[in-house]
Subunit: 372 residues, 4 copies
């Protein structure tokens, strides 16, 4: 059966001078195969992924794998433990506002340079292996900087050292109040239907700091460079996704089981689970390109009832939310309706009823289409 | 018809040196009658009361009243506007941790002294009027202190100056994740069934700083002192309640209408609404004395699924919550069930899935009984 | 020489499910003698006490003691590690606003009851020993509560279990921006001059939740009860102090050495350091009773220059601070001076230039007198 | 004499639904001349600039100007009013971590396109005027976005609408614990010596979101494009600077006067103050290019004494800071010295004694040189 290796990775030190570490659960199959990396809770309030990993671990105790599956729950021991009032201030470093999911490494120039080093004979496996090695040297160099690096970036690079070894990388997140959705790089479009997730965002080859991008952008660019040089497609078979599995600040063991199964379905299709034959569910899957995944900001402050629920389809002009203004309760300006600017699917909304102007009220699919 | 007077009361000044004020909506009936005072959102994240007041205002535009109804929504302009992450840090002053609902004034000695000034002939109306006048002098003296007073206390006293004029005082709150419940002073037990609220906590004559207590404790003690002196009961007909109308950080216009009706029902019974004949709903109302309204604290930290929902009846030994420990996902210590220490009704639970040890996980009715 | 025993005490568990502990440094002398307990940083931003304990440890490596000295630096591993912006939010639990130094145990009734158990023959030593034992049973009972207890209270009781064994208890704090001052119970007035601290506050026998009070109040009351019963004074020789050693959010190894020496001077006088002959410094020591240690609150919001520095003597009408109002920079209301309401010594002031109305601007000695 | 026009600009709405506005003080001279824009406190805890503006206003009441000076103190009414503990959480939006000084507008493509519209005959004045008009259309278009924009960006764009009209733009900031320093675009190198500021950072033509860059980058690029096209230099005479005038969270009226004078000296040199003849002070001015202005991050957590003070010159290997580790107070790992990695000037350090690993401990000039 699979072997389970368990260790802890130090990623920071707190103000008491104590190490803060991350648990690593590494399942090694008896047979060779692809490597899988799954982490959760880089944003400290997005905790459902930990339950998904718990459920995956229950499966992997008995379900043989080919290759390796590395599971890293609660991968941000700092962000998980910052309370501000009753809630977890998990999205950014409370000291400086740095988003915990924006400090991964990517360097366009490095990849171009590496591509130069590939001759036409080199096998895909050899390229992959050399690229990983070079990339990890880059990561190590940054981690060893004389002047040091920031807390969030240090955490990100330590995790990226683990993730960059993998062929399949899943970063488990939650939205504020949210329905399930997944970010999929355009080149891996076919994999979108391998998960049981009804809302899909297709990502271009643009890096803005997140783990999925830090994984797929280098391989994507390398693929393009080598393919173009060789005049024939090369396929590194590396994929990376951000999965948003419902709302932050709540967990559900039952939902966790559902999402674990969805991930097992994907891994089955990728040949990681030789004895599994689970197939993706039949469901409507709606998709958008990233530029059509839009944020609706409030124009005014007040108290809000969220009328459109995550997953709801709203027609142009339909009511998304109703804002109460306490200074005008006796007039017809007591309430203002916020309307859909176009046909849309409400994917997530802000988690508090109190908003200032300029608040991200809803994120919506516009110009969406059905996946086949 | 009722007259509506609208003004703003300055209660603080912010760091920009600008006044922060509270809107006052005062309905004055054509006929004399009792005074009613209703405020909401002294805890800044507990915003549903503003919707209830909005709905009350819609009613009071056409429903004649006797006496006066003073409505004070969003009564804490500081607490309403402190964000810490996406949520509102509304329960305490972010500077010093002072609970916004613990700085009202009560002075046992002052009431004993006042009671001395009452002779056996003085009418109930005269006592009420003199007591209010003296009490407001006390409040003004504190507000005029040479050395000043703290922000929360200043806010509380400014509101108490308004509330102490009233015969019926309702302070509208929400729990974290909560079912409807109401705090009722024991002497007003009969009024518990006049609201459409299924969970009732009976309060003793003990002051711990909140507005309801700051209202009923003085009158209760005065009642006892005069009754005992005169050897016959005196009734000042003053009542005060804290209504907890569901969960913080969400609003619902529909629920607001339900709770507005519930309040109108109470006011109807008290003779404030001569043309209303609305009666309380038939429902099971469970009650406890305050000492049996218990808080269950966590013994460990971790991530929690709240299995018992607010309002659920749980038998001794039943599962309330399940805690996940990320360092033991592969062992049988991965999850720990938190069990009901006795038969109970879960009234509210903590609003975040992430808890440290010593967190107020649930508040529960124990030794509860059915109200008739 | 002294023996050093080092261990860690678990006091909480964080949201990752991990133990949070406090380091204990216990020096045991070769000869018997009194027990000393010194803790620091119960308020997480007040870190200078940790340096003082560091300096004490350097001394105690070579300076023989009688009895025991237990040093507990960084005694609040939760509060030390909550950042909100660049500063440490160390004064209260960020979840609920509970001051970390208000949850120690004291029960008047328990002490009266215990006093009943003392017969006229019982020796002082025996009473002390039995009282400590009973008290620790009380603490254990609270820590073992079926329904649990809150995080701050749990921490406090765990520390109190250690502190209640001691004869001399020092709780090391800092003010916001502050000069050195010390809280001394009135019965230990004579000890005020044994420290090198120029400002002294004399405390009455009133418990409001802090460690010093939780130590001296029980012994004080017991002393009074037994003395009164026996018609002759009994002396338990237990003393407890809160030392405020300058400002929060800064440390200085040099100041730490000064304050360590001051504590060694006290311990020398108390017979804990047989080979030390250090004597208190000659200095002016100003003192007040607690009711004359007054807080000046702002009446307005704005930006403040603190003109009176901690330690400054200001005459009635002298300028303490100047407030800038950004909306009136062109008028003579641009600045407002805040004046001393009476002759005073400024002991500490608020640490931020931005204040709302109702901010604790200064704490001041009024009606102060010179200690002889 | 100068005319003073005073108004308020609405920049946001809070959760009470109330407008939040910024005071504008506009001095208009009798004679034409350049326009000056000075704002302060975009970071809410950096309040000294408000005092500088106060002092400037006192001067401008009697000192004639040519052209216009627009002064915008406290330009961030949201950030100024977020307390987290006693300090102001002023650097980023507490909801999402967005730095308040990173959302100004710059679009390379727009400038290239505009440059195309300039023919060889067009006068500098005409180009300036048209460019401003077009730029303001761009800003307005963003502010009018159907889907809205975020709070910080909205604030930034509203201010930029004012600032882009000006020839001289000064953004007044403070460091955490800091000495005076100034950011100067390389093309305006000559102006570095016109201020009384001893530390100068030369900025390249790279936009990263701040107001100074949002001002000088467009003009710089336009200058380059037109100069290159016309084969002769064009000079738009627009300059923009960020001035860091000491430490956040404190104000000093005396320092404010010093810095106001420094600004008047600059404006005198630029011909804005025809009756002023004030000259810059003789002083050593040290300068670096931006890439040599380095941040030293902590490698460990603990409690820190900042031994190098802002402005101190430290040789390679010199001690910058000493870190205390509370778990090792009895060993020689109790303290760790943090050493200068090279010769440097310490410009600013972190404002709290408690640090995690990855904290920005110091920002330092390296490879610095003396300005002539």
């Amino acid at each position: 059966m699979n072997k389970l290796l368990k260790e802890h990775l130090v990623v920071a030190q707190n103000a008491s001078g104590r190490n803060m570490n991350v648990p690593l659960y590494r399942f090694v199959g008896e047979k060779p195969g692809p490597k899988v990396y799954i982490q959760s809770s880089i944003h400290g309030a997005e905790v459902q992924g930990n339950v998904v990993i718990y459920q995956l671990i229950q499966w992997l105790k008995t379900l043989p794998i080919c290759g390796e599956v590395l599971l890293v729950p609660n991968c941000n021991p700092v962000g998980t433990n910052i309370k501000a009032g009753e809630y977890t201030l998990g999205r950014f470093d409370p000291v400086n506002g740095t988003n915990w999911n924006r400090g991964y490494y990517y360097d366009d120039a490095f990849i171009h340079e590496f591509a130069q080093s590939i001759d036409d004979e080199e096998s895909t496996e050899s390229i992959k292996s050399r690229f990983r090695q070079k990339m990890k040297q880059q990561l190590q160099a940054r981690l060893s900087e004389t002047w040091g690096i920031g807390l969030a970036q240090h955490l990100n690079l330590k995790l990226q050292q683990l993730a960059f070894d993998a062929d399949y990388v899943l970063d488990l997140h939650n939205g504020p109040v949210s329905t399930r959705h997944i970010y999929v790089p355009e080149y891996a479009k076919a994999s979108a239907s391998l998960f049981n997730i009804p809302h899909v965002i297709f990502m271009p080859n643009v890096f803005s700091g997140a783990l999925d991008e830090a994984t797929f952008c280098p391989w994507w660019l390398l693929t393009d460079l080598v393919s173009s040089k060789r005049q024939q497609p090369i396929d590194f078979a590396v994929e990376a996704f951000t999965l948003e599995m419902g709302s932050q600040e709540v967990i559900s063991f039952q939902n966790g089981e559902y999402d674990a199964k969805s991930i097992l379905t994907y891994l089955t299709a990728k040949g990681c689970l030789p004895e599994s034959s689970t197939l993706p569910e039949q469901m409507s899957r709606k998709a958008v390109t990233l530029n059509n995944y839009k944020t609706l900001f409030t124009q005014q402050g007040g108290i809000v009832e969220y009328i459109a629920k995550p997953g709801d389809i709203v027609k142009k002009g339909g009511v998304l939310a109703r804002v109460l203004n306490v200074d005008n309760l006796d007039t017809d300006r007591a309430t203002t309706d916020i309307l859909a600017p176009c046909d849309l699917v409400a994917i997530l909304h802000f988690p508090s009823a109190s908003v200032l102007s300029g608040t991200q009220l809803y994120k919506c699919f516009t110009e969406y289409f059905e996946l086949q």
